[in-house]
């Protein structure tokens, strides 16, 4: 049963010159197609990885999946609900938002530097009205911190008191706080050191098992993907060029672009 479904997903940006300039120079409108007719489906409880280089459109797809950006054409739905539907009431929008959250790439820019960690984690709980009462909310915050391998005493601290890896854990805790069913991971370990990356990837895996989460995992690193994904989609300049399980993709790549990516990836001896 497909849980996340992308159908003919397209996103175009209008890069044309202003109207007056176009009239005077007779130039046509110019468009940049960041995502071009992409379709894929993700089964519940699995991890689907979108792999591509910069400019491949993977981050754009992530933003459309979570409702931060509207598609120019096509749809991306969660359990047959469309987050980008303009006609949804605010309540339905809010209940949809609760089910799908995101972990971002930069550990430094993804947490408000002026807020304490406890407040950052409590905010989604309050916004989605999941738990009432400050005491109960605080308990839930402590619970979340422990689930990601931090301690309740960390709730009083500010983000800058933590290392990059710990900050990503806090980001993951924040994503978990709304009890989502889907987490979009946008290059969550690209900015981390190798040993920390391993910790965060293992954490994501164990959380997936514990809470039956579905992941859409965006990355440029084929090696990372081989250890986390059930299915891999390769993006090139906005188009999905190949889709396969990790085993198939690595042993028998069908497209030239995929082969090129595999060859270019630095190999350990």
């Amino acid at each position: 049963m497909s849980f996340i479904t992308a159908k003919n997903l397209t996103r175009r940006y209008d890069l044309s010159d202003p109207w007056i300039v176009r009239q005077l120079t007779f130039r046509p409108k110019r468009f940049l197609t960041a995502v071009n007719d992409v379709s894929f489906s993700v089964e519940k409880g699995t991890t689907y990885a979108l792999v591509g280089e910069s400019g491949s459109g993977k981050s754009t797809i992530a933003k459309m999946a979570v409702g931060l950006l509207a598609p120019s054409a096509g749809t991306i739905t969660l359990d047959n609900h469309n987050l980008n539907d303009r006609n949804l009431s605010p309540q339905s929008q809010q209940s949809m938002r609760r089910r799908i959250q995101m972990v971002f790439q930069s550990p430094y820019a993804s947490l408000n530097p002026r807020w304490r960690v406890g407040d950052i984690l409590a905010e989604p709980i309050q916004s989605f009205d999941l738990i009432q009462g400050a005491k109960n909310q605080a308990k839930r915050v402590d619970e979340l911190l422990e689930q990601v391998g931090l301690s309740p005493s960390d709730a009083k601290k500010y983000p800058h008191e933590f290392s990059g890896g710990q900050r990503q854990r806090i980001s993951i805790a924040r994503a978990l706080s709304s009890q989502p069913e889907v987490i979009i991971c946008d290059e969550p370990t690209s900015a981390l050191d190798v040993s920390v990356q391993a910790q965060v990837l293992n954490l994501l895996k164990s959380l997936q098992k514990e809470f039956s989460l579905t992941y859409l995992f965006i990355t440029h690193d084929l090696a990372v993907v081989s250890s986390v994904a059930n299915r891999i989609g390769v993006l090139n300049k906005g188009a999905l060029v190949e889709e396969a399980s990790p085993k198939e993709l690595f042993t028998n790549p069908k497209q030239d672009y995929t082969r090129m990516l595999l060859n270019a990836a630095p190999k350990m001896l």
């Binding site: 190798v194 040993s195 164990s206 190999k267």
Partner: protein, 319 residues
């Protein structure tokens, strides 16, 4: 045994803060042979960029080279590194966006660099610049182009051309491919390798990416908390690592390996200590699964020219 091109002897780089002097690099010694590519690998905070900067005397106050000597071609250079900077020793930085002056055409930047270090006429320098661009795979007609008209990978090629222009004996490349896409990264590394082998230029390749090291470097040094943990040929260090940190690092690097799919990655517990909280004895001992009491008390020296680890001492004596 040929004389090393560069000898770094027991250098320390210290920063004075109100909490005392912090050591970004602590008693580090390493050599670079002529014509070799030496990799310096370590995670953030390990001190590898500091080392590169120290060689060229680019440490800004409040940091300073507090101890040790740096010898280049048999002469001491740590006292006055400016004479060699850009001439005998060049540097390539990570971000090509900021390494090139956005207001100057690349041809002008190349010619300026050439004329600064070699005596020749302007026409000759322009000719040299064109040849330099061809070598790095850029159309020489683009001499009059501005940096922003190039893509990231092309810009890094220009930077390499700039670094090679004065015909240095040593290039220090600080994370030269980190900001680039994987496919471009492979091309740039190939280019660096080809050009330097061809001219016999040595490279110090600073990176955090083990994969880059394994494809490019002849020898590699592993840095941890400002100290050299292990050194040896790339094959040795990556395949049969002697230091527990290197072993952990290699094990936790994800590999394109279908047999390991679904399994958790090995992870080294804990994290690299901050500069003001470096443990006594061996800096790695709190995270080491094989540590002994001695590890927490005394800092291990480099054993057998391979790894700084007390465990090696035992094996040596055990024979």
């Amino acid at each position: 045994m040929t004389q090393p091109l560069l000898e770094v002897k027991n250098i320390s780089v210290e920063f004075k803060t109100r909490r005392g002097a912090l050591k970004a690099v602590d008693d580090l010694s390493i050599d670079v042979q002529p014509g070799e590519i030496l990799g310096l690998v370590g995670e953030s905070g390990a001190g590898k960029s500091m080392m590169g900067a120290a060689i060229l005397g680019l440490i800004d106050p409040p940091g300073r080279l507090s101890k040790g000597e740096i010898w280049f071609k048999g002469q001491r250079i740590d006292q006055n590194p400016e004479t060699l900077r850009g001439c005998e020793i060049s540097m390539i930085f990570q971000d090509p966006l900021v390494s090139l002056n956005p207001l100057k055409k690349i041809g002008d930047q190349l010619v300026e660099t050439i004329l600064r270090h070699k005596k020749m006429s302007r026409a000759q320098a322009i000719d040299r610049a064109r040849k330099g661009l061809i070598e790095v795979g850029i159309d020489p007609e683009r001499l009059n182009a501005y940096p922003h008209t190039f893509s990231g990978g092309m810009r890094q090629r220009v930077v390499i051309a700039l670094a090679l222009a004065p015909e240095p004996s040593l290039i220090i490349a600080d994370e030269p491919t980190t900001a680039l896409d994987v496919s471009v990264q492979a091309q740039i590394l190939e280019l660096l390798k080809k050009l330097c082998r061809g001219r016999g230029t040595s490279i110090i390749l600073i990176t955090h990416d083990m994969g880059v090291i394994s494809e490019t470097a002849d020898r590699v040094g592993v840095l941890y908390a400002g100290r050299l943990a292990e050194i040896g040929s790339t094959n040795q260090v990556l395949r049969s690592s002697k230091h527990p940190y290197t072993q952990g690092l290699v094990a936790s690097t994800p590999k394109i390996d279908t047999s390991s799919f679904g399994q958790s990655l090995y992870q080294i517990p804990g994290s690299m200590p901050k500069l003001d909280a470096i443990p006594t004895g061996c800096a790695f001992h709190p995270r080491c699964t094989q540590g002994t009491l001695k590890c927490s008390q005394e800092r291990p020296p480099m054993m057998n020219n391979a790894a700084a680890c007390w465990l090696l001492e035992e094996t040596r004596q055990g024979i």
